[in-house]
Every structure is written in structure tokens, then in C-alpha cells.
């Protein structure tokens, strides 16, 4: 056979090229379709939300008036921050503790497998179930008052716990075994290896995972509806009813009054911006988490 190089290298199938082009176009189209609702959400959030922002939006509490000035959402913002702060203070240490147990000590024991299974189940439980659980166990029994901020925190903590544990387990697993061995071979006891070598090495990743769980918890309405309920005034006492942004939005959006509906949009924008900030911090922390 006497073929030239040009013949050898010529395309063998026109169809393959066409298929390639078509598939690329389909994928690009899919991406655009997926982006449309995302962009629209952000567009509406800003266009409607900015309308609802007024000079007193962040500094005044809801007035409860249907006519006239509906007031701001100071109590809801502070309430969300307080409830989530307490929830994080519970869920993050416990969640990381469970992950440490699973990775460093439980490993492949039956008990560890059972724990992992339950964590997976908990991840899939709808958030309203956590709210109902706290409602049935703590609210109806009137332990420490009926509806209180700390009960909302507990419901959120239950929701955040599996998220924290799962992400922490992944990050702790990434810490190279060689580092643990290096420390153990220096004659360092196991608990100190965990505390002084494994935790600091995994720290940036742990921060990222925890902040994402915080962001997740912050946006939840259902666990708070039956636990911390709603109230108009600002309170710093987690033992009282406490307002929160998601619940404020939930209540406002169903009102037959444009000013109040606009406040719901403005609250939504506020919430998204807070969560965005947290996510950004998580990203920056993640960038430093390159475990060697």
C-alpha cells in the first residue's frame, strides 16, 4: 500500500466530528438552562429586596401594623445570629468529636459502622422532623418555658450535627497516616497525636465544613417554626421566644400588604448575603487546607 502522510492523517469519519459538535452544544445548553433559575432568583432577590430596604430596616423591630410603617427586621437578624450561634456551639464540637472518634478510634468496628449509618440517616431526615421532635419533647412539655430560642437552637443543632460530622470525617481521613505514625514513633501517646497533630493539620478543612453547616442551618425555617416561634421585639435572652429571619420571611410573604411582602424580600436578601459571607470565609479557609 502506498498512502501519503496526508491520507493517513485525514479524518476517517465526518460523523464523529458532527457528534462531537452536537454533544458539546447539548451540554452548553444544559448549563444555560440550569443557570436561568439561579440568575432569576438572584435578580428578583435584589430587585425586590432592595425595594424593601429602608433607612430603618436594620435598626427597627417589626411594628405589627398592617397599615403604615411595617418596621424593620432587627429582631429577626439578631435572633438568627443568636440561635445559630448557640446551635453551632453545640453541633460543631459534638460533630467534630464524633468524627474524631470514628476516624481515630472507631475505625472499622461494628459500633463505628452503626454510628455512620445513623449519621447518614440523619442527613436525610427532613428538617421539619427535627422541629417536630423538639416540639413534642421540649415545647409541649413546657420544659424551661414553652417556645424559646434555645429550643430552636437545639433543633438546628440536630440538623447541623450530621453535616458537621460527615464533612469532618472526610477531612480527618485526609490527614496522612504517615503523620500519625511519625508522631506515634516519637513516643507520643495516641490522644496527644489526635489533639496536637491530627486536629491542627485538618483544622482549615474542619472550619470549612463547619461553616457550611452553619450556613445550612441559618437558612432553615421549619425547625424554628414550632420551637422558637415568632415575636416582634428584639431579645437577647435565648430563654424567650425569639424572632428569626427565615420565620420572619415565612410570615411576611403571606401578608396581603405590599410593604410587608417587600420586607420579606429584603429579609431574604439579608439572609442570602449573610450566608454568602459565611460561604466566602469557608472558601478562603478551604484554600489554605491543602494537607501536604
Amino acid at each position: 500500500m502506498n498512502t501519503t502522510a496526508a491520507q493517513l492523517l485525514a479524518p476517517t469519519s465526518g460523523r464523529r466530528r458532527t457528534t462531537d459538535r452536537v454533544m458539546r452544544a447539548v451540554l452548553a445548553l444544559g448549563t444555560v438552562v440550569a443557570l436561568i433559575p439561579l440568575v432569576l432568583v438572584i435578580y428578583y432577590l435584589f430587585s425586590r429586596g432592595l425595594k424593601g430596604m429602608s433607612s430603618t430596616f436594620f435598626t427597627s423591630d417589626p411594628t405589627g401594623n398592617f397599615l403604615g410603617d411595617p418596621g424593620g427586621v432587627k429582631s429577626a437578624i439578631l435572633g438568627t445570629l443568636e440561635i445559630v450561634a448557640l446551635a453551632s456551639a453545640i453541633a460543631i464540637p459534638v460533630g467534630i468529636g464524633v468524627a474524631l472518634y470514628l476516624v481515630e478510634f472507631g475505625k472499622k468496628t461494628l459500633f463505628a459502622h452503626v454510628v455512620r449509618y445513623f449519621i447518614d440517616v440523619m442527613t436525610g431526615v427532613p428538617s421539619i422532623v427535627f422541629g417536630l421532635f423538639i416540639y413534642v419533647t421540649l415545647v409541649t412539655s413546657k420544659i424551661g418555658g414553652s417556645f424559646t430560642g434555645w429550643k430552636g437552637s437545639l433543633a438546628l443543632a440536630l440538623l447541623m450535627l450530621p453535616v458537621v460530622t460527615r464533612s469532618a470525617e472526610v477531612v480527618l481521613d485526609l490527614v496522612p497516616e504517615s503523620l500519625r505514625e511519625a508522631a506515634l514513633a516519637l513516643g507520643v501517646p495516641r490522644w496527644k497525636v489526635t489533639l496536637k497533630i491530627v486536629l491542627p493539620t485538618a483544622l482549615p478543612g474542619l472550619i470549612t465544613g463547619s461553616l457550611l453547616a452553619v450556613a445550612r442551618g441559618m437558612g432553615e425555617t421549619a425547625p424554628l417554626l414550632f420551637t422558637s416561634a415568632t415575636v416582634m421585639g428584639t431579645t437577647y435572652n435565648l430563654g424567650e421566644r425569639m424572632n428569626s429571619l427565615p420565620v420572619q420571611i415565612f410570615n411576611d410573604i403571606s401578608q396581603p400588604n405590599d410593604a410587608i411582602v417587600n420586607r420579606a424580600w429584603a429579609s431574604a436578601l439579608t439572609l442570602v448575603l449573610i450566608i454568602l459571607t459565611i460561604t466566602l470565609i469557608a472558601r478562603v479557609a478551604a484554600r489554605r487546607s491543602r494537607v501536604a
Binding site: 504517615s178 503523620l179 505514625e181 511519625a182 514513633a185 516519637l186 507520643v188 501536604a292
Partner: protein, 295 residues
Amino acid sequence: MRPHPTFTREQEQQMSSMPSDRRDVAAAPGTAAAPDATVATQAGTGHSMTVRGLDAYYGDDKAIKNVSIEYRANQVTAMIGPSGCGKSTLLRCLNRMHEEIPMARAEGSVLLDDTDIYGAGVDVVSVRQAIGMVFQKPNPFPTMSVFDNVAAGLKLNGVKGVDMKERVEKSLRGAGLWEEVKDRLSSPGIGLSGGQQQRLCIARTIAVEPRVVLMDEPCSALDPIATLKVEDLIHELKQEYTIVIVTHNMQQAARLADTTAFFLLGEKIEHAPTAQIFSNPTDSRTEQYVTGKFG
């Protein structure tokens, strides 16, 4: 550069006059030291280690089969053999790191001088402080500076009353790294080159002042120049420490070791002065391995 080992006339005569049943394969433990007697014992204050009838398992797999061997004080003992022959497992049994692997266990006795490190009343943490280990891949702590890496063993063990700066400098000098890093003690340990990292790990190991240093293929991840530096260092270290080194590199064993043990399929085949192992081994399998016929 250290030249390839050349043997003195006396040594060669000793070798040729050595009876053929000199090998100590899992024989009576008490006689295990016999071949070492031909190597001039160096003056030193080190400690010896003796393994007696050791079996080691991974789950149901027996990786070490009834091995008895002696590591003499202030000598370098090399362990060679094809992959999977159990030499690394045996090394890890010498400071009880083997049992850190899930399902792994060891039976038998390993004596440091005359105390069984597997015996009752022996703390595994103390064992590892007395018997240090350097790993195949350099593994400095990524969150720590050069200084903190070297001081890690002391700091994490809460050792008090030690001049940390002095000990770090001494250890880094001991590891031949001081001149290279003295101006960047506070920069991260992982910023060093591979060879420097490995010497940093050696410094970290000797900073806790162990009596025995175990090395698991310490040069296999290093380039030839870095390897040479680490080998020079090992030569220095044996003045103070008893050294056991696992290596895949037979030239390295020949350059470094006073005695060499050959392992195959979890058994010790032969342990003799290095010169003898490489020039006149008693077992045909050893000969085949060191001449490159398999492995």
C-alpha cells in the same frame, strides 16, 4: 564519597575459615549472635536488641515466621530481601508500631538489652521513645516550622528541663542539617527539599534521644546526592546509636552495614557480616538474591 566496601585480608580470611553451618536461621536463639562476632565490635554505649521466635500477623496472614535475630549495639544492621519478605514488618515490630495497623499483632519476644518490649509492665509509649523510627517517605509535620518539627517529640511528650534551642541545634547538627537551615528555623518544615526533609525527620527522631534508631528504606524517596548525605549521617549515628535499616538497595547495605540479614517469605534466611553476605553467602537463595538472579 565513600568507596565501595573493600575487605581487609583478615576479614577475608575470617570469612573463608568460617564454618558453613554458621548461619543462624531461627536456630537456638542463644547462638544467634554468632556471625556478628567476626565484626570488630566498636566501643560504644549503645544498647543491643534481640528478637526471639517472633511471629507477626496481619489478620490471618502470617508475615513473619519464627524469626530470631540480634542487633548489636553501635552497629548498623541491614535487612534486605525482596518485596513482601517481611523485613519492614519485622522493623515495625521492633518498636511496636506494627500493632498500630488494624488487625495486626505480633507474638514472641523482642528484647532491648534484656527487657522484653512486649512484656507486661512495659509502656508502648516508652518503647517508642527509646526506639525511634525513620520512615520511607519524609513526613515532617506540615503545620510546624523546622524548629518545631525537631522539638515535636519533646514538646508533645511534655519533657521539661531541656534547653529546647540547644537540643534542636544539637539534633540538627547530628542530622547534618544545621548549616542548611539555621537561618530559617521558623519557616515550615515542608518547605525543605526531599533530602532535607528526610534529614529533618532523622533530627526529629534523635532529638528525643532514643537508644536505637530504626530506618525503613530511608533513602528510597531521595536522589543520589541526598542519599549519600543520609548514608554519611548513618555512619556518624552509629557511634551513639544502634541502627537497624531496611533497604531495597544492596549497594547501600554493602556500603553501610556491619552485618546484613537476608529475608525471604517472612523467614530469616541468613544473617552474617555484610562482606560475607555479599561475597560468600552460605545459603544458595541468598546468593541468588544478592547476585540479582531474583528479587
